[in-house]
Symmetry: C2
């Protein structure tokens, strides 16, 4: 049985629709944004990033919409929610979802920009603090098995040197 | 044979590393950011988003780092670049890469924030204009086969109503 954690009117809706379309066996747990429930210790035990949605499975909790969507599709092949046997078509699907989450979603949210612009240095630092303390499993990002997340993390982590250099120059 | 389009010192490096690690047969085409080559008609034929990296395959061009990485992993299973036979582990990998592309990468780039904050409404409009005119295949997002990108797009598109309402209120 899956448990889906979601607030109303967020990108969680996408995963909720997919769960229904997959005919998945799941229960829901509503998260009250008005009461900032996503920042409370009880929810942070579910998702340490304090973000929604989250999908609790027997193996653990999944977060980030594109990943949850791909998981629902892959575990319910009979629902045909993704081209599972065609790597190129699957990559095109992923590319579309990636564009939505990294560009469209971000472009939508001026409040997030304003907040992030003011504290972009702290924000990047906080991201890498979370990665280093909570997300890295070791020896590789995902644990014993090497995966493509490693060069991706390596690439973005390198930028910290540039950020650091520009901080020094601006003093 | 794959063709990899990349500039120096961007997130394209992640895919470049993965191509090497996969032992992929590919050639490279360097994109000159200094000359804004990514905005020129010749490159826009390769990637209409004018962004990098892009990976040209026999089936077509792939963009967006998480999608390119998953594709490289799936088409080179012998390189073991992703847990291809384990949907949960694959989803965890995707979740990590999604966090990198939607949050960490964005948090890194104050210039992008500043530019986007100033014109967030135009930016969202430009995103959906591109989606509607160039990316939607019909009848579903990816063409004839339904896929999980559909509820994702539906969800984010709904926000345009909210944006529109707040524009009217702010007049």
């Amino acid at each position: 049985m899956l448990t889906f954690y979601y607030p109303t009117n967020t990108c969680a809706l996408a995963s909720h629709v997919a769960l229904e379309e997959a005919g998945a066996a799941y229960e829901t747990r509503w998260i009250d944004f008005g009461a900032a429930e996503q920042t409370k210790p009880e929810y942070l035990k579910i998702n340490r990033k304090g973000r929604v949605p989250a999908l609790a499975t027997e193996r653990g909790v999944l977060t980030e919409t594109p990943a949850i969507l791909a998981y629902i599709a892959q575990t319910h092949p009979e629902a045909r929610l993704a081209p599972l046997d065609d790597p190129f078509a699957f990559a095109e699907l992923q590319s579309f979802m990636s564009y939505l989450c990294s560009t469209v979603h971000v472009a939508h949210d001026p409040a997030a920009h304003e907040a992030m612009k003011k504290k972009v240095r702290q924000s990047v630092g906080a991201c890498f603090d979370l990665i280093e303390r909570k997300m890295l499993r070791g020896p590789w990002v995902m644990g014993d098995a090497y995966a493509v997340a490693n060069p991706y993390l390596f690439t973005i982590a390198r930028w910290m040197e540039v950020d650091s250099a520009s901080l020094i120059r601006s003093r």
